[in-house]
């Protein structure tokens, strides 16, 4: 079969930059196959996809050398409109790429402008919406959809163009595990019907579903091969800044299942020691909390949760389940419709803004919604200045906060020029400078690579060890397994279960009620009768044949 694309000795440097975003990359993909591209932030994943869509260098300028061919045709001198219809790109910031006001018009936009006959458009729209689980929402206003629904709409709009090469740039970032699984099915089906898909992502577990994976590191191709072997390669994954699935080297893939290789032995007890769940005074108490938005959407109903001082709680659950609404209510940003939420006995919404910010620090998912100053120092100092603190005290807090997130020496850097992971740490520092007693974080690791996640969450874990109560919302179950002391599962606007991570991640019935899945390592461990939940624990629990000393 012919190749969907061929990239030969590709080097690209953005205008105004000295370091190339991609360097001497050779890559090709046969038609009908699915390829996952993984790598750290700035590795060149999005740039490669943008080149395949002719966005680079036609729209985003720079210097390009080497050859790029899509379906045998060179992209030299081509613009996105020249490949429209053959290539479709689903953007990470899907909201900014939606162009119509109703669901049906959004999906029909591509076929209409590509000159597809009207009789064919309705069939394409119906098929695309059905594939993405949006059938029945044709007349809905785009602005009334949830984040997850908008992301699926962006995918449906791409499918409706009937492109033979579909590019997904971090397209699953806002989806809950059930949504990610649905997107995975859509992409797998694309391969089955002869279309080609390239998926840039940071989640190696997701990439196991594709035919091939390519690892990019520092703009160079580090590895290319079958997912199981490539993602189990610790050294190469390390170079690409991808969390290696080292435990997979002990498994063989059979269809969609993984079975232990013959002769691999299981060690007795290998669980990392987890600190006990705090049982101190209540820090946050939600009692029969209910919250209905002015639009009439009931976000919370009979929501009950107690978070103790010093706890490290993960809120997990489906999109639209009520996690963010509860977090905002606990931070005093939303007022309950009924019931109460108390922070150390006080109603947070009734506190003056300064006192509220000191009681509960709230880190938003997108740091770009808050950053507005031209240096890290100024950005972090904004909160303390709002409190009216003396200059010396404000400076002390800025230094402490910047150090806590590992950004010492970068105080005079421009936050807008930093990678997203660093911007998220700037945002965290600006919250920490308020010295809050409780820290609430809304999906703090979304869009971050492995190193950025570790840097951010390690800083938060250190704060927690120092006594700060931490509550964080996430869809990353491996982050839950590694950092949380307690997990609250939220679905349908209330808490449907809670407990230590090991117990919650082992409760299939509870997880499925909230559209969740345990991490791959936990799933495989359970099949082996092990109680471990992280990949490292599972890797330590397995010994290859003839190597009894390796643990």
């Amino acid at each position: 079969m012919a190749n969907a694309f061929d990239v030969a000795k590709l080097t690209f440097t953005y205008r105004g930059r000295s370091r190339p975003a991609l360097s001497h990359v050779n890559l090709e993909l046969e038609e009908g196959r699915t390829l996952g591209i993984l790598g750290h932030s700035g590795a060149g994943k999005s740039t490669l996809l943008a080149i395949l869509a002719a966005v680079v260098p036609a729209v985003k300028k720079g210097t390009i050398t080497g050859g790029v061919f899509v379906f045998g045709a060179s992209l030299e001198g081509k613009r996105p409109r020249d490949v429209a219809g053959a290539v479709a790109l689903v953007f990470e910031d899907f909201d900014a790429a939606l162009v119509a006001t109703t669901v049906e018009d959004e999906v029909a936009f591509g076929p209409r402008h590509l000159g597809v006959p009207a009789a064919e458009i309705s069939g394409r729209v119906a098929d695309a919406l059905a594939s993405c689980g949006l059938a029945g929402l044709e007349g809905r206003g785009v602005e009334t959809l949830s984040g997850g629904q908008k992301q699926r709409l962006a995918v449906a709009a791409a499918l409706a163009t009937d492109a033979r090469l579909l590019l997904f740039d971090e397209a699953a970032t806002d989806l809950d595990p059930a949504g990610k699984a649905a997107l995975q099915r859509i992409i797998t089906d694309l391969g089955a019907r002869g279309s080609t898909a390239v998926v840039a992502d940071n989640d190696p577990a997701q990439a196991l579903a594709w035919d091939d994976v390519a690892l990019l590191g520092g703009g160079e191709l580090v590895a290319r091969g079958a997912p199981v072997t490539t993602l189990a390669d610790e050294e190469r994954c390390g170079r690409a800044g991808v969390a290696p699935l080292t435990f997979l080297r002990h498994f063989e893939r059979r269809g969609s299942r993984y079975v232990l290789r013959p002769g691999v032995e299981i060690a007795p007890s290998t669980c990392d020691e987890q600190p006990p769940t705090p049982t101190g005074a209540p820090a946050v108490v939600a009692d029969r909390l209910a919250l209905t938005y002015p639009s009439g959407v009931k976000a919370l109903s009979n929501f009950n949760l107690t978070i103790c001082e010093g706890d490290f709680v993960a809120l997990v659950g489906e999109n639209g389940g009520g996690k963010t609404t509860f977090a905002k209510a606990a931070a005093g940003l939303l007022k309950p419709s009924a019931g109460t939420v108390r922070v150390r006995g006080q109603d947070p919404a009734a506190l003056p803004a300064g006192n509220r910010a000191q009681a509960v620090g709230y880190l938003f998912q997108n740091p770009d919604h808050q950053i507005f100053q031209s240096t890290v120092r100024e950005e972090v100092a904004f909160g303390p200045r709002q409190l009216g603190l003396a200059h010396a005290e404000a400076e002390r807090r800025v230094e402490a906060a910047v150090a806590a997130v590992g950004l010492e020496g970068r105080e005079d850097d421009d936050p807008f020029a930093m990678p997203k992971g660093d911007r998220q740490r700037v945002a965290l520092a600006s919250i920490l400078a308020m010295e809050p007693e409780i820290l609430v974080m809304d999906e703090p690791t979304t869009g971050l690579d492995r190193r950025e996640v570790a840097a951010l969450m390690d800083a938060v874990a250190a704060l927690n060890r120092g006594g700060t109560t931490v509550v964080f919302i996430t869809h990353a179950m491996d982050v839950v397994a590694r950092y949380a002391r307690r997990v609250a599962v939220v679905a349908g606007g209330r808490v449907v279960g809670e407990g230590p991570p090991r117990e919650v991640l082992a409760d299939d019935e509870l997880l499925s009620r909230a559209g969740l899945e345990p991490p791959l390592a936990a799933r495989l461990a359970r099949e082996l009768g092990l109680g471990v939940v992280t990949g490292e624990e599972l890797a330590r629990a397995l010994r290859p044949p003839g190597n009894r000393d390796e643990i």
Partner: protein, 256 residues
């Protein structure tokens, strides 16, 4: 809820009816003529366009328009018998009647506009404009503006929450709010720039301007009923103009 009857009309017919309604409302300046027209438009908005939610929301604004028009117009109208005088404020009977007519006219126009928006999506509006030979690029721009407004509001709301979470209080007076708006303006402005860039790329990749004329979708040709209704409305508007030219329907004949 069943579909609003006006929704069954072709978007171009709806736009034509809106334009003719505006012509009708501006034809007369005698409240005895304008009031029944404004009442008719309001009833049509309520029962034929199902615009009760937006009408309810704007009712206080409409009342404010009428009251302010009655109060503000008289000092500019010298004609008529003195009706009230309070220090330098002087009102004649014709001035009050003209103010009332203009107020009712504005209310009628407001209702007509809200009724049109209640039954017409931006895409349908674009389709109507294309029927009147407006270039497709202008109609896509219009649809994008409608699409991006809620995104801008949402971004502003998130930026507001993010800064409030860092202790920012805007205060109650306008000057204080304006002075403290920088932490909101910068994130929203930068997000808009990035969004515009991505939107342009997204449009191009989905075939925008790949063909000279996009395929009409979800639209049917105007029916005989559409043509008939538009013609009837045009005849009514023409008749109204004739009546006005014959000297009827105006408390101040020299004014619009």
């Amino acid at each position: 809820m069943t579909e609003a009857p006006v929704k069954k009309l072709h978007p171009a017919t709806r736009l034509a009816l809106l334009m003719l309604t505006l012509v009708l409302l501006t034809t007369f300046n005698n409240p005895a003529y304008v009031a029944p027209l404004a009442a008719g438009v309001t009833l049509a908005a309520l029962f034929l366009c199902r615009a009760e939610t937006s009408l309810r929301r704007t009712a206080p604004l409409a009342a404010a328009f009428v009251v302010s028009s009655i109060l503000l117009w008289p000092p500019f109208i010298k004609a008529g018998e003195p009706w009230a005088q309070l220090w330098v404020y002087r009102a004649t009977d014709l001035g009050v009647l003209y103010g009332l007519a203009v107020g009712l006219r504005i209310v009628g126009m407001l209702c007509a506009g809200l009724a049109f928006l209640a039954v017409t999506t931006p895409e349908e509006f674009g389709q109507a404009l294309r029927s009147f030979r407006v270039p497709p690029s202008a109609t896509v721009t219009l649809a994008l503006a409608f699409r991006l407004l809620p995104v801008m509001f949402e971004t502003s709301a998130r930026a507001l929450e993010a800064q409030r979470a860092r202790g920012l209080e805007f205060g109650s007076n306008f000057l204080s709010q304006a002075r403290r708006s920088l932490p909101l303006v910068v994130p929203v402005f930068l997000y808009s720039l990035r969004s515009a860039d991505q939107l342009a790329t997204s449009l191009e990749l989905r075939g925008y301007r790949a063909t000279r004329r996009p395929t009409p979708y979800g639209s049917r040709p105007a029916s005989a009923w559409d043509w008939g209704l538009a013609a009837a409305f045009a005849a009514v508007a023409a008749a109204a103009l004739v009546i006005r030219l014959c000297g009827h329907g105006a408390v101040l004949p020299g004014r619009l």
